[in-house]
Amino acid sequence: MDSWIHPAFFFFIGSLLLPFIKGNAKKFIILLIPVLSIIDVAIMREGVYGSFHFLGTTLVFGRVDKLSMVFAWVFTIMAFLGSLYALHVKEDGHHAAGNFYVGSSLGAIFAGDYLTLFIFWEIMAFSSVFLVWYRKEKQSIDAGYRYLLVHVFGGLCFFTGMMLYAYKTGSFEFERILQSGAGIPEYLILAGFALNAAVIPLHAWLPDAYPEATVEGAVFMCAFTTKTAVYVLARGFPGFEVLAILGTAMTVYGVFYAVIENNIRRVLAYHIVSQVGYMVAGVGIGTELAINGACAHAFAHILYKALLFMGAGAVLYMTGTAKLTKLGGLYKYMPLTMIFYIVGAISISGFPLFSGFVSKSMIVASAHEEGRLMLLTFMNLAGIGTFLSVGLKVTYFAFFGKEAPIKAKEPPKNMLWAMGLTSALCFIIGVYPDSLYVLLPYPVEYHPYTLTHLSEMLQILSFTGLVFFLLVKKLSPEEKLNLDLDIFYRMGGRVFMWIDNYIISVIDGFWGELYRTLGLKILFKNGDISYGFDRKVIDGVVDGSAYGVRGVGGIVKKLQTGRIQAYMGFAVLFIVLIIWLLIRGM
């Protein structure tokens, strides 16, 4: 039972080692970390590992079952592909942030109780934000702060819900919750999870932050946060009707923005909202087929969405822009990148022989099986929008279309290899769906390659293509910013500043005036009386202590070297001192 090693271990320890290794050895270690974790997952057996008793409750670090294993497989595989894509990145901090992010996601999916889950949940938010900040541009710094702010809010919802839940049930165990027994605590936890899954109306952080992340960071980000959220929803809240409806709404909402956006990475980010919508809807429908579909789609989606972000990132990396209005005719300069991007695009659109065809259709089929024809209709409408925006619009305007005055080259080899390998996986899953189906939590009786399904998908996709070419002029991208719900907190901040600048400063000014005219007079009178007392009694005492303070000030001044590492050193010493005092006191 003790032979279990938490795969997060490799990522945490590995990132701490990175600063001490140089040159090719560092690249080797960067790739070795995910490889070791994949091997670890491969030899892992189902069971419950790593339980600790802590403050009267049980922390479970390793709940290994079919549901957590699907996600462990794809997370570790994705970590390898992402690390390969980011191999050229010089900053150790960037690699460390990526590794901590992956490690904490793995921690979250193996967590068996809410407390452990919450800790990893927060590490995820605080490590991933560095993947945004490492871009080091003003809009990235700003977007990173907003990202953090929203996630802290989500974390608070989760935390409050968790505490109320523990109060209600007397346990932190993270198990399936039934819709019939759910009250405020459960729905608060659900809201915290839903925020990370970018469920509307809690989605605006995603298209705000992901397009501002670094080229390599975005590849990591698109995989882990939302899919960890899909996992916890599938674990805790299957069959919640609200998820079925909001999830389906997400699918259409996301593609709608993807159709009108200009920046490729914004198109893709909105498209994550749409794709995660399928998974959330699958969880909401809650049948075995639907849950299988949600897991299969999460697996397939992580790969092809990462592939698309790799392609878009390569374009941004080599040309300096991801705006469709400034791109065009890139097929001449980046043919391999284009082919890999197209593989991602037709996988996500659900073309036969590629991974989306065998995963997305499971969720659509579950809606069909349950007679949820409205859900089915909107999901297929979103399918149209997927091919239209990610498949046709981006491919046409970036790689073909009007030629832009940009001379680009193919990206570095490691990026091409990462894209090539991911493309291969998308194809393998599409051709051998059983390679994915064996990993799913429930036995699979679903067959994607039937005549009706083939005919349905090909009709939808082909006639979408026809309309695209008829209306292509109407669809030309525009250099605009499209409003979304983040306007409330972006503008809300301004309202707060306005209140601060005008209303509070007016009150402050008035108060100051009142004090000057009225207060000072009283003070002067008072002063005359106290003067005598002061002169005779206080001076002696104060002068004495003033010398004392000056002496201490001199010592403090020496401590204030102005160097941040010195402060951190003192802080650590101080904490050690406190801990020592605590231990001695016990």
Binding site: K332, L381, L388
Partner: protein, 83 residues
């Protein structure tokens, strides 16, 4: 490079390409009609031949028109809207 030549030749033969694609669309609809013969599904959408053809065509049309329409109506702002 071979891929480039291939794309260039496709681009220079647009007329033939269009004819091939239109023929493909027609075959697709005929194929759907054929597989519907003697086939009965649970719901009405399963029993209309070419349902997804119409769905794809109209759906895509609506997405483009409504999307761009709402964008122009009030969603689109200048890129420095937030300063």
């Amino acid at each position: 490079m071979n891929i480039l030549k291939y794309i260039e030749s496709l681009r220079s033969n647009m007329k033939t390409l269009k004819k091939v694609l239109i023929a493909y669309l027609v075959i697709l609809v005929v194929f759907d009609v054929v597989i519907h013969i003697g086939h009965h599904g649970h719901y009405f959408i399963d029993n209309i031949p070419g349902y997804w053809t119409i769905f794809g065509f109209i759906g895509c049309f609506i997405l483009i028109k409504v999307g761009k329409g709402i964008a122009h109506l009030f969603l689109s702002k200048d890129e420095d809207f937030y300063g």
